[in-house]
């Protein structure tokens, strides 16, 4: 698979949070299992769920949304061939059928995928959903005026590279066949065992051709899910959804859809959102947020208040913050220098800078610490929790830097606790103990992003992060370490400019696997093998903590999204 563009990836991260965004869970996935099973055996049906967000639900068109697992709020309106399992924790990182009867049937080398639609699927107007509508929905995502989605379909479907969408090209995509109203077949140009994950994205939503209004479709997309759009103001700033009477729970095992109405209000400041959720007054008692985490200071306040602490949902989204090296820049061409930095790093300082142990977990692996990614624990340069400056000095001496080393660390000036000055200064302080003087180069966020993703301007030593489009090792490792994905003129994500034949071959081999568990194990092993090269220093995996209102029940937070799933929430 290939990496999305810079913007696309950012959007991905954003939409992941939007999507995922749903909210907050009770006390962490572990507790939630018990909770979901126990306390909330009969969730209340009805009422209005308010969603308080900072980012609007822009471009609410299934062709244009860039989501992980179909998104959080989008998933209330758009059903897809497959979807994410709406369960707490690890189980929630699985892909399950949605419109289709299964997660797809591959041919022997995973280049042809066949799906069959369930029976009795209807749109909000009562008309039947057909496989041709799914095909049409995918085709219109190729139209230039409806851009925004992930690039996978264009890369993977046979003959899709130059396709301009159904408005210009009436013949459509020959790579997608619909032999009958309930069957759809995809022809891929290479083996892709993870195609079921891709089919969770909103581009796999059926769109009735007769109702397609082009760029205006986002005002009122025809719902296939439990809710339909009642109003959409200012491009998703306020989105009101109401129950879709033609949606049938019998065909949908995933969405619970307890409330009658969903009121999404965006454009709010994050501190206002957290303030309102903690006050939980009036309509805010039945409110959640799908995109706003608690910050360190807010967490400090919340954790001292039992009532508030009980209303915090904890989630893990597959994401890694790391130090990237460009081995083309001296002195980082020397593995010993890179290893010395790995040893010297004080992860406890970095974790504190990111918000403390409740908001970040120290990382020694590039892959997120989740089973679905194939996480295989390793720590090739063990410096312990607070670093091993002595070992680092030893390595530096061997590398000919016995009397110290001065390097420049590039970071962004965004206030995100990820690639921000707080993290950079923590690293600066830790490396000082190993005799490494770190100069900080803080760049404005856009400038920073342009620089680090361009092979010509890529700095030698910088802060980076990566999140996958779905919870698997493929979209996590391939864009960063596949040598054929080095982009010479354009957005490049292979920071280490690694082009290793054995790594490339293993990536190809794993993509052929359709047994996702077997694939996960091999991604984990590959991660460990790449880790020995010390091209990155994993720093931490973020943890999401989000508040929800007093009357919010049935909180489910999967490891796929890390945030409360709005399709599961009940309000009193």
């Amino acid at each position: 698979m290939r990496q999305p563009s810079v913007i696309a990836r950012r959007v991905a991260a954003a939409s992941v949070s939007l999507v995922v965004a749903a909210g907050a869970a009770a006390c962490g996935p572990e507790d939630n299992d018990a909770k979901a099973a126990g306390n909330d055996s009969t969730p209340h049906k009805g009422g209005t769920l308010t969603v308080l967000n900072s980012n609007p639900q822009q471009d609410f068109d299934p062709a244009r949304l860039y989501t992980s697992g179909g998104g959080n709020i989008p998933s209330l309106v758009f059903r897809t061939l497959t979807t994410r399992n709406r369960e707490n924790g690890e189980a929630g990182a699985q892909v399950v059928p949605d419109l289709a009867t299964d997660t797809g049937r591959p041919n022997k080398d995973a280049t042809v995928w066949t799906f069959t639609l369930k029976e009795g699927l209807k749109y909000e107007d009562g008309t039947e959903i057909t496989s041709a509508d799914v095909k049409y929905g995918i085709e219109r995502s190729f139209a230039p005026e409806l851009s925004g989605g992930a690039p996978y379909l264009r890369d993977w479907l046979v003959g899709a590279a130059g396709y301009q969408g159904p408005y210009k090209d009436k013949k459509g995509l020959s790579a997608i066949e619909t032999p009958d109203a309930r069957t759809i077949v995809f022809h891929l140009n290479k083996p892709e065992g993870e195609f079921p994950y891709l089919a969770t994205q909103t581009q796999f939503t059926p769109v009735p051709k007769a109702k397609d209004t082009g760029t205006k479709y986002e005002q009122h997309p025809v719902s296939s899910g439990p809710y339909k759009v009642v109003s959409n103001e200012n491009d998703g700033e306020r989105l009101v959804l109401e129950r879709n009477p033609h949606w049938s729970a019998a065909t949908d095992a995933e969405r619970k859809a307890y409330p009658d109405r969903i009121d999404v209000r965006s454009g709010l400041d994050s501190s206002v959102i957290n303030q309102r959720l903690s006050a939980s007054q009036g309509a805010d008692a039945a409110a959640v947020t799908t995109d706003t985490n608690l910050g360190p200071a807010e967490l400090a306040k919340v954790s001292g208040d039992k009532e508030l602490a009980a209303r915090v949902g904890t989630g893990h989204f597959g994401y890694t913050n790391y130090i990237a090296f460009n081995p083309k820049v001296k002195p980082f061409d020397d593995p010993k220098v890179r290893q010395a930095i790995s040893y010297a790093l004080d992860r406890s300082s970095v974790v504190n800078a990111a918000g403390g142990s409740a908001l970040a977990e120290p990382a020694t692996t590039f892959l997120p610490d989740q089973k679905s990614f194939g996480h295989t624990p390793y720590d090739h340069f063990p410096g312990g929790a607070s670093g091993d400056p002595a070992k680092a000095r030893e390595l530096l001496k061997e590398a000919g830097h016995g009397d110290g080393l001065t390097v420049t660390l590039t970071h962004s000036n965004a206030k995100d606790f990820e690639t921000s000055p707080e993290i950079a200064t923590a690293i600066q302080d830790a490396l000082k103990k190993a005799g490494i003087t770190v100069r900080l180069q803080g760049l404005e966020d856009n400038d920073y992003s342009d620089k680090i993703h361009n092979v010509k301007t890529e700095p030698g030593f910088f802060l980076a992060h990566w999140g996958a489009d779905w919870p698997s090792g493929g979209p996590f490792l391939a864009p960063i370490f596949d040598g054929r994905q080095i982009v010479k003129d354009g957005a490049n994500f292979n920071n280490g400019l690694l082009d290793d034949a054995s790594v490339n071959a293993e990536i190809d081999a794993i993509n052929k696997l359709t047994d996702l568990d077997a694939a996960a194990k091999r991604w984990g092993a590959l991660d460990s093998k790449i880790g020995e090269k010390a091209l990155t220093v994993p720093l931490f995996h973020p943890v999401y903590k989000r508040l929800y209102g007093k009357d919010v029940k049935n909180v489910v937070i999967s490891d796929w999204t890390g945030v409360l799933d709005v399709s599961q929430v009940a309000v009193k």
Partner: protein
């Protein structure tokens, strides 16, 4: 610092000589508030100058992290009461990092005061030079310089400063840059207009005419005859500029374009502290308090200086029969 306010204390042609300076000190001494303010300012300057000594005395430095002094599980709030205040950390530690707040505060004073004073020097030099040139130059020079000054008076300081600070490469030493930007963009134009007006008045005085008749050149007249007469309004204006500049530096650092981490400045401390007002209030109160005390002291001192330099204002304040308005 509008011109109207300043016009009151332009003391005409009675240029303070040696006896004028003595008179000034005598008047200033009688104003208790000004004296207290002067001592506070002196103390702050002393603290800034001796920051390395003071932190050495405490046994800390402004950049070392102390992860063990913050509660990682609670967002990094300092361990212990009142933000971790104790014998080792006199004012507690910074949330998330555990850096010593006393050290950061006194080192922050260096940046905040240093940048403000440097910017003031730039403003004074530029303002006096442009004002004198406009007042003494021919019609064209006067017109041109006055218009340029008008443009700078109209310029929105924060926006221009933000833009300038964003485009200059990061390799340029940041505190110097901030001082330059603040000095070059703000303050000097108002001063230049003031100096020009005063110069035009002084130019007509008999002693200046006498000097000209005896064949002195313009530069010599400016230096020997005009500058002493300008001293009072310029000093008064400077006393108002310093606290303004401190606030501007704090605001720029607050907006993230001031000094760069890990260098502490009060504005930068306020930025990172503002979200902590509930969980760790002392973190916010320290830089805010320091800023408040400094600006207040400088303002009171400035007011004292103004009054001491202007006998009319002084007598008006005392007797309550002050005349309104002034010349300009």
């Amino acid at each position: 610092m509008s011109e109207a306010v300043l016009a009151v204390e332009t003391p005409g042609a009675d240029a303070p000589g040696v006896s004028g300076a003595r008179q000034f000190w005598r008047r200033l001494r009688t104003r208790r508030a000004a004296l207290v303010a002067a001592s506070v300012v002196a103390l702050l300057v002393l603290v800034a100058l001796t920051a390395p000594l003071l932190t050495a005395l405490e046994g800390q430095d402004p950049t070392t992290y102390h992860p063990s002094l913050v509660d990682s599980a609670r967002g990094g709030v300092p361990v212990g009461s009142f933000g971790g205040i104790g014998a080792d950390h006199w004012l507690g530690v910074e949330p998330q990092t555990g850096r010593d707040l006393f050290a950061r505060l006194v080192y922050g004073a260096r940046v905040s005061l240093g940048v403000a004073l440097a910017a003031t020097v730039v403003q004074l030099v530029l303002g006096v030079a442009v004002g004198l040139a406009a007042g003494l130059g021919n019609r064209w020079v006067d017109q041109l310089l006055t218009r340029v000054a008008d443009i700078f008076v109209a310029m929105p300081l924060m926006i221009v400063a933000l833009a300038l600070l964003a485009v200059v490469p990061t390799s340029f030493p940041r505190p110097v840059l901030v001082a330059l930007v603040v000095g070059l963009v703000s303050g000097w134009a108002t001063l230049a207009k003031l100096v020009r007006a005063q110069t035009l008045t002084l130019k007509e005085a008999d002693y200046v005419a006498a000097a000209r008749l005896s064949g002195w050149g313009t530069l010599r007249i400016a230096r020997r005859e005009l500058l002493p007469g300008l001293a009072a309004p310029v000093i008064t204006f400077a006393a108002i500029l310093v606290p303004t500049n401190i606030s501007v530096e704090a605001a720029l650092s607050f907006l993230g374009v001031g000094v760069r981490p890990p260098t502490p400045s009060w504005g930068q401390m306020l930025t990172s502290a503002n979200v902590w007002y509930q969980a760790a209030p002392q973190y916010l109160l320290l830089p805010a308090g320091a800023l408040f005390v400094t600006v207040l002291a400088l303002t009171v001192l400035g007011d004292g200086v103004r009054t001491a330099l202007d006998p009319r204002a002084a007598s008006r304040l005392r007797v309550g029969t002050g005349r309104k308005g002034g010349r300009s």
